[in-house]
Amino acid sequence: MIELSNICLSYGKNDILTNVSLSLRQQGLTSIIGPNGAGKSSLLAILNRLQKPTSGEVRIDGQPIDSFDNRVLATRLSILRQDNQINARISVRDLVCFGRFPYHNGRPTAEDWAVIDQAIHYLDMSDLQDRYLDQLSGGQRQRAFIAMVLAQDTQYVFLDEPLNNLDMKHSVAIMKQLRRACEELSKSIVVVLHDINFASCYSDEIVSMKHGRIAHSGSPEQVMQDHILMDLYDMPLSVQQIDDKRLCLYYL
């Protein structure tokens, strides 16, 4: 269980996050949505320990995040941020192998390799596994990083806009994959998403953020409401029921 209590973050006079309290489910897929600048990425930066909150506390399985040993924490919680502008020439396979680094510390075992192969296979990258990152397209690189995080095999997985740069086919494939990981491996996966329809179709829970605060949280049915979303994004839109899914039309 990950609990954030009263997290505040500010730079000088700018409040980035104000009193964010959230407890993330032990298992299942949670989506965080919200307009640009709502503080979603800052929240992940705090979990990534790139940033210390001005006040408040993050507890993982009851223990404060700061008290964890780096390596132990890396086996509980993994985070993929969106700014992976990497020009290193590292092969996909090596990158995914680094996902096992907290376990093998440089000497991967046969078991590690099995997990690595599986992660590569999951993300449909077997043909590309010997390519260098700088030879891949943006979407392929994104998938390579997701494979790395999956290989890390942690209970909690945070992904900041994992669908960036991906085409429709791979977006759907990844969301299905994440869904499957939640169910089969009983993981708790948190994704920051821009496309709220993906959030609606694949999440167990949606958390919406605005101006550094939590605006709403609940099941897709509870959050996917005209007035809630219009209020959140400050624009006209309409939510339609199509089969058993609620989809938001905002293109017009």
Binding site: N48, R49, L50, D69, N70, R71, V72, L73, A74, T75, S78, I79, L80, R81, D83, N84, I86, N87, A88, R89, I90, S91, D94, L95, F98, G99, F101, P102, N105, G106, Y132, F145, V149, Q152
Partner: protein
């Protein structure tokens, strides 16, 4: 693996040739054997050690700055070490090699840390800005050095000091370079951590790497290697830039795999240049820095142009 052994053999052969190149003819008489042990072997060893450690310092700097176009001589680190030596020449000209080394290393630490600090202050870290800041910074430092040297009439001595040269190496005057050899091995042991640091703070922290400590460790390593080579052999430009980029083309940037290659090719390249420096205008010696500049840049440019053509 086969290729590695083959290259290793090639470098070893070069090293053997290096033992027999020099003004005095080794085979002539018995007493010349002492020459072999007094100067030739130390010189060859010094060249090998300096070559591999400088190449490794270059690649570590590149990982820390997350940019492939930086190395200690283009980011002010070596200039700071030189500044330390200049200040010693002014205020304590009699100091021992050990003192010189310590001072050079301390100054090099300041140089590397200040460069990384400068980088952290720059929001826009584009590929181009980072090496540019480094070049500017080392430009500032070398003009500071020239300025101070001018005031104390030390231009000539600091120049001879700066220009890379192995001709003064003999037994008793190069042993400190073994320390860089030790550091190379230490770098290999922590290679994975450096690769992860090269992937960025976020990825490194996510995988449980103690980012800050690895950066500090890397800075110290780069500084000590720079300090040792400046004190023992002067400035050898360019090596840390050429070799890692060269190796990256066929081995990638996973340091666990590429570091042995970087060390080997670094050693081989410096050895080849040193041989050339000794034979080009025999019996005089041309500073190795100059040879390195010419051949290093030609090699590098041809790789670069070739690669560029492939991408078209």
């Amino acid at each position: 693996m086969k290729a590695f052994l083959l290259t290793l053999g090639l470098v070893a052969a070069l090293a053997v040739i290096s033992l027999f190149v020099g003004v005095a003819d080794l085979s002539a008489s018995e007493e010349n054997y002492s020459l072999l042990f007094l100067t030739r072997i130390p010189r060859t060893l010094a060249v090998l050690l300096a070559g591999s450690s400088l190449a490794i310092a270059g690649v570590i700097m590149q990982m820390l700055a997350r940019n492939k176009f930086v190395e200690p001589t283009t980011t002010g680190t070596v200039e700071w070490a030189t500044l330390g030596i200049l200040l010693l020449l002014i205020f304590a000209p009699e100091s021992s090699v050990m003192v010189k080394l310590i001072v050079a290393c301390l100054f090099a630490v300041v140089g590397a840390v200040s460069f990384l600090f400068l980088l952290s202050r720059i929001r826009i870290q584009s590929e181009v800005i980072v090496p540019l800041v480094g070049i500017m910074y080392s430009g500032i430092m070398s003009s500071t050095i020239t300025f101070i040297a001018f005031q104390y009439d030390l231009i000539q001595s600091i120049w001879t000091w700066i220009q890379g040269d192995f001709s003064m190496i003999m037994r008793g005057r190069y042993e400190l370079l073994w320390l860089s050899g030790v550091l190379c091995i230490a770098a290999y042991i922590t290679a994975n951590q450096f690769t992860l640091v090269g992937l960025g703070e976020s990825v490194a922290k996510n995988l449980g790497v103690n980012y800050r400590w690895i950066v500090i460790w890397g800075v110290c390593m780069v500084a000590v290697i720079s300090g040792i080579t400046v004190v023992n052999a002067g400035v050898i430009p360019f090596l840390g830039l050429v070799v890692p980029n060269l190796v990256s083309v066929f081995m990638g940037d996973n340091l666990r795999k590429s570091l042995p290659w970087i060390a080997l090719i670094g050693a081989g390249l410096v050895l080849a240049c040193d041989l050339l420096a000794r034979t080009l205008r025999y019996p005089y010696e041309v500073p190795i820095g100059i040879i390195m500049g010419v051949f290093g840049s030609v090699i590098f440019l041809s790789i670069l142009l070739h690669r560029n053509r492939q991408y078209d």
